[in-house]
Structures are given as C-alpha cells and as structure tokens.
C-alpha cells in the first residue's frame, strides 16, 4: 500500500508538468505582429509632409500673387502720374495759341524745351493745328513731322473728338513702320480755337527691356492702349510673347480720354527664393524624417520581437528546467522509497502502517526513515530515525543505520544495546552528521512497549480519545559520542491503543515552541477516528504545512484487540 502510494505520487507530477509544458508554446503564436507600425509611421509621415508642403506652397503662391498685384498697382500709379507732364505743356501751348491767335513763333518758342530726343524732353514732335480746318495740316511744327499729318481724314476725325472732350486725348498710330502714340489738347469752349498735338514714337518692334536698375526689374510687362489686352493695341512689352508667361496681374490706368492696360508677371519669386523652395525643403526633410521614424519604429519592433523571442526561449528553458526538476525530484523520491521498507510485516494481533512525505523544497533526498521489524517471537521493533542534513550523504547514512538496526535486531539486541552499537557507526566530527533514532520494542501479546530514544521525539500513545507521549530518558543522538549509553522506558499499552512515532518534520513550525507543536499533534490525533492508514494520512495532511522544507516519516501500530 505504501509502495503503491509512493509510485502514484512519483508518477503523477511529471505527467501533469508535461501537460502544462505542452500548453505553453501556444502563447507566442497568439502575439500580434507589430509590423504595421512602421508602415503606419511611413504613411502618416508622408501625409503630414505632403500637407505641410501643400500649405507652404499655397502660402507662397498667394503671397506671390499679392506682391505682384502690389507691384502692378505701383507701376500703374507711376504711369498715371505721368499724365500731367504730357497734358500740361500741350494745354498751355493750346491756350497760348488761342490767346495769340495762332502765332506760330510764340508757339514754337514755348514748346521747344519739351521736344527732342534727349532725356527729359517729353515729345518727339509737337504741332499746332487750327480746329476749324485741320485738313489743311498743322500751323506750326516743332521736331519731326507728325505722322498724323499723313492721314488728313484720321486727323479730322481725331480732332473732331478733341473738341467734344475737354481733356487729354490719346490716339494710337500703331501701323508699321514707325508706330507712334499721339496726344492732343484743346482749350474747351473756344470755337475756332487751336489744338496742340504731340507725338511720341514707340519702339519699332514694340520691345523694350527694363533697365536692371529699375524698380520693376525682375518683372515681365506688357502695356496696351485702351482697356483690355488686344494684341493689335500692344504698345510695348519686354517679352517675346503675349500674354506674358506665368501668373499675370493687370491694372487699368485711366489716361486722358483713354486708358492703358498694364499686365505684369514675375520672372522669379518676388519674396526671395526661400519661400519658393520651402515646400521642397519640407518635402525633403519630411521624407527623410519619415524614413528615419519608420526605420526607427521598424528597429524597435524588431527588437521587441527579438526580446519576445528571447522571452519565449527563456520560457521554454524554464519549462525544461521545471520538467528536469520534476524528473530529478521523482528520481530522488523513487530512490528514497527504495531505501524504505517495501511492505510492513503482517503480525497477528496488530495492524501497522507508515507514510513518508517528501519535503516541498528542493530535490534532495532526506534522511528520515521508518521501519517495522518482525522479531518472529511475538515481538516487533518499531523504528523511526532522522539523519541531519539532506542529499545522498544523508540517505546513505540513513540506509546504513537502517540495515545495521536490522542486523542488531536479528541478534535480538535490546533497543538500548542497538542504540549504543549504532553510536560507533557515526561520528559528527568526521561527517558532520547526527541521527536521532527512536527504537520501540513492542510485545504484541503482553501489550508492552519499551522505548529507547537517541535524541528523538517521543512516540504518542492514543487510546479511546486520550493521547499521551511516552516519555523516556533522552540519550545522545547517534554520532555524538561512540559508546553512548541509553536507558529504556517500558509501558503497558491499553487494549486497542495506537502508538505513533514520527520525525520532527511532522510537527516542526518555525517560531513555534516544541511543546506547542507536540500538543497540536496530540490534539489532532485524538480528534481522529477511523483506520490506522487514514489516521496517519490525515495527520500528515493536517500538520504538514505546505511550505515545510523537511521530510516526514511517520509509523503507527495499533492493537486490533
């Protein structure tokens, strides 16, 4: 029964550990892959970069448009500001002519400073016409001959208009070659008066580049006569084509009875190159940062996976250790049980039972043992012992003591003699080991028990709800003194009584007084009824605290009558 029990205990644990072991590796596959993280970082980074670049670009574009509009307005204001310098000389000379009845000499003398090709001279030619008969040609001319004079019909139509409009009148003589722009002014409300008419040549190809020192350098421009950008009304431009390349801003500048339309576009960024390049800088930096962030995330994810892989491996190693530990432990327990009796002797009149419980900690074998030896003369020897220390050394010492007791018992030595003989077998100074041993010689028929103790805890005698320890003189543990002497105490046991011997692992509690521990065992034992094996099993279960490091050996004998 004991052997079966031990085998079952030894067998169950590795199996259950193996079952846990199989369940473990499922966990890693349940882990979610985090590879989407760097991809997400990449996508988010690119989206943010694109958004920033777009915002920056639209800022740049709208800013450029605003700046261009301002420049066009400035240029328009400049052109509008030129009106008086054209109108005033003509108006004054027309007034002079009216006052002097068209005196050509006075007119010429007055207007001469405004005519010429040198800078500061406003007109290429200025002529005086009689409004009532313009077809007759000019009354006086200063400078080159006026082109308008070549087409009397056009001149008549133009001057007829001048009369009606008391302001500077503008006419475009744009036919090639020698295109010109003409201005006329007559004092309003003077019938039969005079009109002063000036002309300025336009560049033959209508092309004129701005000086690089001009405040409008860096801009393309095109100037048209009238409102709108009709190609045939183009006066002058700096470019090769109209409409101008790039974004165009226009301003209409009223000028006398007509107007100029000015169109401009930027040759390069007006606010400098940085705002223009900023979107690309953002794109470049953003892409680099995004790639770096994605790379870093990838690295972190990979490290994490690596760490998880390590953790998995460690887990497997821990499981393997656990398995090996269990295996080793079961080997130790198997060995221990092999050193303990296979089966207890069957003796009429008494029932015997024993249990061995391995300590929870460690895989070492303990040095506890029990024995029941049939002396085959109606007596038997009940033995419980405990070799100090653990491991193979403790177990082998235990085995040698146990077999020695068998030998001495076979010679029918009394318990005291057995202990004294054992005291020569072990020496603490050599091995560091002590052994406490309780020998109880039981006479079945006479119900007598002789107890001799080598430093061992006393056995408990239970009968009919009462329990008492069989106190005897405590001799030295085995190993202290070779040839130590022992005395035995003999008691007579009541009918159907039970004697239980045990090792200190059963009662030992750190911090608890030994007498308290013994009292606890006594209380637990007398409270239990039932068969002997159940009594021993129940006591082990009840008293053996889960954290107990020590092994337990317990043996019991009960008179069946």
């Amino acid at each position: 029964m004991i052997a079966q029990d031990s085998e079952r205990r030894a067998g169950i644990e590795p199996e259950s550990q193996a079952a846990e072991h199989q369940a473990e590796p499922v966990r890693p596959t349940g882990r979610r892959s985090l590879l989407w993280l760097p991809v997400a970082a990449l996508i988010i980074g690119l989206i943010v970069t694109a958004a920033l670049a777009l915002v920056s670009h639209s800022q740049y574009t709208s800013n450029e448009k605003r700046l261009l509009k301002l420049r066009v307005r400035d240029a328009g204001a400049l052109i509008a500001g030129a009106l008086p310098s054209v109108q005033t000389p003509l108006a004054s000379s027309a007034e002079l002519a009216d006052a002097t009845n068209g005196n050509p000499e006075k007119f010429k003398r007055f207007i001469a400073p405004y005519v010429g090709h040198t800078p500061g001279r406003t007109f290429a030619t200025v002529s005086l016409w009689r409004l009532s008969s313009p077809q007759g040609g000019p009354v006086a001319v200063v400078g080159v001959p006026p082109k308008l004079a070549l087409t009397p019909a056009a001149a008549m139509a133009f001057f007829a208009q001048v009369v009606r409009r008391p302001q500077l009148n503008v006419i475009g003589l744009l036919g090639a070659p020698d295109p010109r722009l003409g201005y006329a002014f007559a004092t309003p409300g003077v019938p039969g008066g005079y009109v002063a008419y000036g002309e300025n040549p336009l560049p033959a190809s209508r092309r004129s580049r701005l000086a690089s020192s001009s405040q409008f350098a860096g801009l393309h421009y095109a100037l048209y006569l009238g409102r709108g950008q009709q190609p045939r009304k183009l006066l002058v431009t700096d470019g090769d084509r109209t409409p101008l390349p790039g974004h165009e801003a226009t301003a209409i500048v009223p000028f006398g009875n007509s107007a100029f339309t000015l169109a401009m576009s930027a040759q390069g960024p007006l606010a400098g190159t940085l705002p223009r390049d900023l979107p690309w800088i953002i794109v470049g930096a953003g892409v680099l940062l995004t790639l770096a962030a994605a790379g870093l995330t990838l690295r972190l994810v990979q490290r994490r996976r690596h760490a998880e892989g390590l953790a998995d491996r460690l887990e497997l190693i821990a499981d393997e250790n656990q398995r090996l530990y269990g295996e080793q432990r079961s080997i130790a327990q198997t060995l221990q049980h092999a050193l303990l009796p296979d089966a207890l002797p069957q003796i009429p009149g008494v029932e015997t039972s024993a249990r061995y419980e391995a300590g929870e900690e460690g895989v070492d074998i303990g040095g506890d043992w029990y024995d029941v030896i049939d002396l085959e003369d109606g007596r038997l020897l009940l033995v419980v012992g405990d070799v100090s220390g653990r491991g193979l050394r403790a177990a082998t010492t235990m085995a040698s003591l146990r077999y020695a007791i068998h030998a001495y018992a076979a010679q029918h030595d009394a318990p005291t003699e057995i202990l004294t003989k054992l005291s020569y077998l072990l020496n603490v100074a050599d091995t560091g080991q002590l052994a406490t041993i309780l020998c109880a010689l039981v006479d079945v028929d006479r119900r007598e028990i002789s107890v001799a103790s080598a430093g061992h805890l006393p056995p408990l005698l239970i009968q009919n709800g009462n329990g008492q320890y069989v106190e005897s003189d405590i001799g030295l543990p085995i190993g202290v003194e070779p040839g130590a002497s022992y005395t035995s105490t003999t008691i007579s046991a009541p009918p159907a009584s039970t004697i239980v011997a045990f090792t200190d692992g059963l009662i030992e509690h750190r911090g608890e007084d030994l007498d308290q521990s013994l009292e606890r065992l006594r209380g637990a034992a007398v409270a239990r009824n039932g068969a002997l094996p159940e009594l021993l099993g129940g006591l082990v279960k009840e008293l053996h605290s889960g954290a107990a490091a020590d092994d337990i050996a317990i043996v019991g004998l009960r008179w069946t009558s």
Partner: protein
C-alpha cells in the same frame, strides 16, 4: 534572490579569558551550515580554551545547525551554547544535547 543572501550573520570575538566567541544571528538552517562552518574553522584551528556560541540573536536553528554545534563541541577543548531562545533550548533538550552543548544559562 532570497537564496543569495545569507539568512544568518556570524561575528567572531575573543573574551578576556581567551575564549573564542561565535555570535550567530538571524536564521541558521541547512543552507547556511557550510558558510558558517567555513567562517568558524580558523577559530577552531587555533584550539581556543573554550568555544562559546552566543545564540542570543538567533531566531531559528534547525537540526543541521544543532549537528554543527555538536561537531564543534566534540572538536573543541570546551564548548558552551550561550543564551539560546527558549524554543531552541527546548529542542536541544528534546534531543538530549543540553549537557553536551553546555547550554547556559
């Protein structure tokens, strides 16, 4: 982690009479036996007149600790177990070792 820290502490001293005093405090069980033995071995090698184990600071001692003292008691010229706790004294007495270990007081 617990395993790496000794549960017990050993202090060595000599009294005026030339007795070696081993003061052990904390918990002494099988895991600390080798360490304590190694620390006390040089003291024993000098054969002091008496080896005194002062157990006043010892909270717990198991049977291997007691076996260690018995070993010292059989090796040294004279031995004394001084100031064990009542619990420890009771265990020593239960093992029949009170006299061998010269428990005082």
């Amino acid at each position: 982690m617990d395993e790496l820290e000794p549960h017990q502490r050993v202090e060595l001293a000599t009294d005026a009479a030339g007795n070696a005093i081993v003061r052990i405090s904390g918990d002494l069980d099988i895991s600390g036996i080798d360490s304590v033995q190694a620390q006390v071995a040089p003291v024993l090698a000098e054969h002091p007149a008496k080896l005194i184990v002062d157990a006043s600071g010892l909270r717990f001692a198991d049977s291997s600790a007691i076996a260690l003292w018995v070993r010292w008691a059989t090796t040294a010229r004279s031995f004394e177990l001084r100031n064990p706790s009542p619990l420890l004294r009771r265990v020593v007495t239960a093992m029949g070792l009170a006299e061998k270990l010269a428990v005082t007081p």
